[in-house]
């Protein structure tokens, strides 16, 4: 099932969506959207986690918009989707695997956002495209984290470096993994890290140390740092992005769990404030459910429009 039909399927199940706002809307008097519908649209945008400011801004713009005679609710939705897609367009970028040998790609984020699963899916994908990979189980804290990554490494048929015991220094493990990647002519070293809340200074220091230690071997490493964001998280995502950028120099985002009812509208604010690329979105548990981000598809799903 395509990303789009999946999202559309989900959207029809949720209530209070944008489509609801248009219930009973028959034609547009004088080509304008009426006050009551505008209010409902603003609510629907807020329910999609777009945030108060962005919702108000979009609706204000819509209020001034004059539609052609015979325009329908679909046209209004399309207009709204276009506005959102326009804001998100700069985020739609293909993830190019860095050319460094080995290219170190780090995965960071708060607990439970889906880092390990994302690595597993990407490892399978890249392995199939002929890359030589090494996974580093940098989450030495959470019980079973290395075991979890080991299962993914097995599935993708790629080697894994893991600490001998729980609680080992993750920076040391990365150092060791880098050396192994060098001697084995690995193209990509994918480093998992423990989930950490961005306000935990001690854990953020640990992350900073991991970056420092990597730089001792290659000043340009890590060559990409992907922040994995959970779509069900609300406005706190902004704080997460800000802190992880400061500590780990995040270069792009992955948004997971978009197959839930959550619509991750907070990425509008993130796009505006941090101008980070969104490389992938997760829309399910299977390997193919990690897909490139499309601003158009995302925007259409957010307003409840089909593209087919």
């Amino acid at each position: 099932m395509s990303f789009f039909s999946r999202l559309k399927q989900r959207l029809t199940k949720t209530t209070g969506g944008i489509s609801d706002a248009f219930r009973g809307l028959v034609g547009l008097p004088n080509g304008r959207v009426e006050e009551e519908t505008l209010q409902e649209l603003e609510d629907a945008l807020i329910l999609a986690d777009v945030g108060v400011d962005n919702a108000a801004q979009l609706v204000q713009k819509l209020q001034k918009q004059r539609f052609a005679d015979g325009a329908t609710a679909e046209d209004v939705k399309q207009w709204l989707a276009d506005q959102i897609a326009e804001k998100l367009a700069p985020c739609e970028q293909t993830f190019n695997i860095p050319t460094a040998q080995p290219a170190v790609i780090m995965f960071v984020g708060v607990n439970g956002s889906g880092k390990t699963t994302t690595i597993g899916k990407l490892a399978s994908k890249w392995q199939k495209s002929g890359q030589k990979l090494l996974l580093a189980a940098g989450d030495t804290f959470r019980a079973g984290a290395a075991d979890q990554l080991a299962v993914w490494a097995d599935r993708a048929n790629v080697p894994l470096v893991r600490a001998e015991k729980d609680g080992a220094d993750p920076a040391g493990l990365l150092f060791q993994a880098y050396e192994q990647a060098q001697t084995q002519n690995t193209n990509i070293l994918m480093a998992d890290t423990a989930g950490r809340l961005q306000n935990r200074a001690d854990l953020m220091d640990e992350l900073a140390k991991m970056v420092r230690v990597l730089k001792k071997q290659d000043e340009t490493a890590p060559h990409a740092t992907l922040l994995v964001l959970d779509a069900t998280v609300g406005q706190n995502a902004l704080s997460q992005v800000e802190t992880f950028i400061n500590i780990a120099n995040v270069t792009g985002l992955v948004i997971t769990k978009l197959d839930s009812s959550a619509k991750a509208g907070v990425v509008l604010a993130i796009a505006e404030k941090f101008k980070l690329p969104i490389y992938y979105i997760g829309v399910g548990e299977s390997l193919d459910d990690l897909q490139p981000f499309s601003a158009q598809d995302f925007a259409q799903a957010l307003v409840g429009l089909g593209n087919s």
Binding site: D147, V151, T232
Partner: protein, 441 residues
């Protein structure tokens, strides 16, 4: 953040001076700012709307006092409403026929497995229960191993893992083994599942029907956004939850999801996850949560502000008088009564303190309301200068005259005189060191 809300509210009220009552227009302006603050804290929109209606009903017509800004008065009402929704702590009872089954459910990555370990430790150490764990998460790689490691760390038993065994079969085996081991509590960890995943929700229903849990806890990430409502509703409708545990409460989120989920489900909040270690589980307490959702730790600042509003000179004068052993006269009592009206009466002062909302309601309003205070001031105003300075001279005739002048019953005058006597008695005791000095307010 709180200051931000207070400032914003203040600007919407800038035209008001501390007199009169809050009108519908004043309140409407304030509500817009409060709506924004709540939404920024990720309180779900339907819950925000409900709250605003309630606040509006309470705030319109509320009397304004000179010393507290109208904006702050409204915030106070909002704060109390949030505390109401959050509810009082309820004890997590695991007494009953062994084994008492606790079923844990939630989205992927919400923190179920870690919470299971924390709960096991809590029940074992604080409640002296023999706990057994079982993992029904056959989907996430190594999820069962994770729980096994944690069980070892905490020192509770865990059902052995059998490759390929399905959740319902695992449940059957867990129930049998818990019975055999005579475990007090059996905690069932389940796989994370999306609220829209019909197949996995169906599986959870089967597990529930088989295990007949005493508690079905929904584990929710405190950082969840607007979707919290759909998630909670879906789990409640399909599984029937009996309680809530929130995780990542130690994050820097404002935690609106806590309020939303509690409001939507109506079931008690039992636990708050405050960190990654297995002992970082706290029993739910509402203190501070409401302030945090509004963007401020607590309302202490508000109270301090009120204290500062009391005329320092008046307060000092009274205290000096006390310490010198001079005793109060009627003028002094009038000053104090005026101070109280400025603060909106004793009742509203109590209402400002977190947790005091209920106490405020419990206090006999006839004794505390502003009318009584005003009447007492009127009585003093009807006295001659001499009477005010030397209340001893107040004989029956004088009291009758004063009552007529103030438009009250003689019994009201008697009450005031008695109050004066009692205050002086207390002052003497304080002077002699028999009582601690009252803090000035």
């Amino acid at each position: 953040m709180f200051q931000l809300l207070a400032d914003r509210l203040q600007s919407t009220f800038s035209s008001l001076r501390g007199r009169g009552v809050l009108t519908e227009d004043d309140v409407a302006a304030a509500l817009r700012e409060i709506r924004r603050a709540l939404l920024e804290a990720d309180v779900a929109l339907p819950v925000v709307k409900k709250l605003l209606d309630k606040v509006k009903a309470e705030a319109v017509g509320e009397k304004l006092t000179q010393s507290v800004k109208p904006g702050e008065q409204v915030i106070k009402i909002v704060h109390d409403s949030l505390v109401d929704v959050l509810g009082e702590p309820e004890s997590f009872s695991v007494s009953g026929t062994k084994p008492v089954v606790v079923l844990m459910a939630g989205l992927q990555g919400s923190g179920k497995t870690t919470t299971v370990a924390k709960l096991a430790k809590f029940l074992q150490e604080k409640e002296q229960k023999q706990v057994m764990l079982a993992s029904l998460d056959i989907y996430r790689p190594a999820a069962q191993q994770q729980l096994q490691t944690l069980a070892g760390r905490v020192g509770v038993s865990m059902l052995d893992i059998r490759e390929g065994e399905q959740p319902v079969a695992i449940t059957k085996r867990a129930l049998a083994q818990a019975k055999q081991e005579e475990a007090d509590v059996l905690i069932l960890d389940t796989a994370g599942r999306l609220e829209v995943d019909e197949a996995l929700m169906g599986e959870l229903q089967q597990v529930r029907d088989l295990a007949q849990p005493t508690h079905t806890l929904l584990v929710v990430d405190a950082l969840t956004g607007q979707v919290a409502v759909q998630v909670a509703q879906s789990f409640q409708e399909q599984i029937g939850i009996t309680g809530l545990a929130f995780t990542r409460v130690d994050g820097d989120g404002r935690g609106g999801a806590v309020l939303s989920v509690r409001d939507i489900t109506g079931v008690p909040i039992y636990f708050l996850g405050m960190g990654e270690a297995v002992d970082a589980l706290e029993l739910y307490r509402p203190e501070g949560l409401a302030g945090r959702i509004l963007g401020q730790g607590d309302v202490v600042a508000l109270v301090e502000k009120m204290q500062n509003a009391v005329n320092e000179d008046d307060a000092m004068g009274l205290q000096e008088k006390l310490m010198s052993g001079q005793g109060f006269n009627m003028e002094d009592i009038k000053k104090q009564l005026k101070m109280m009206t400025r603060l909106g009466g004793l009742g509203s002062m109590l209402g400002l303190l977190p947790g005091m909302g209920k106490l405020k309601k419990a206090i006999d309003p006839s004794k505390m309301d502003d009318k009584v205070i005003k009447r007492q001031i009127a009585i003093i105003d009807s006295m001659t200068k001499q009477e005010r300075k030397e209340p001893k001279v107040l004989n029956a005739r004088r009291r009758q005259r004063i009552a007529k002048g103030a438009g009250v019953e003689v019994s009201d005058v008697n009450k005031l005189v008695k109050m004066h006597e009692q205050m002086n008695k207390m002052a003497k005791m304080m002077k002699s060191g028999k009582m601690p000095v009252m803090p000035k307010f």
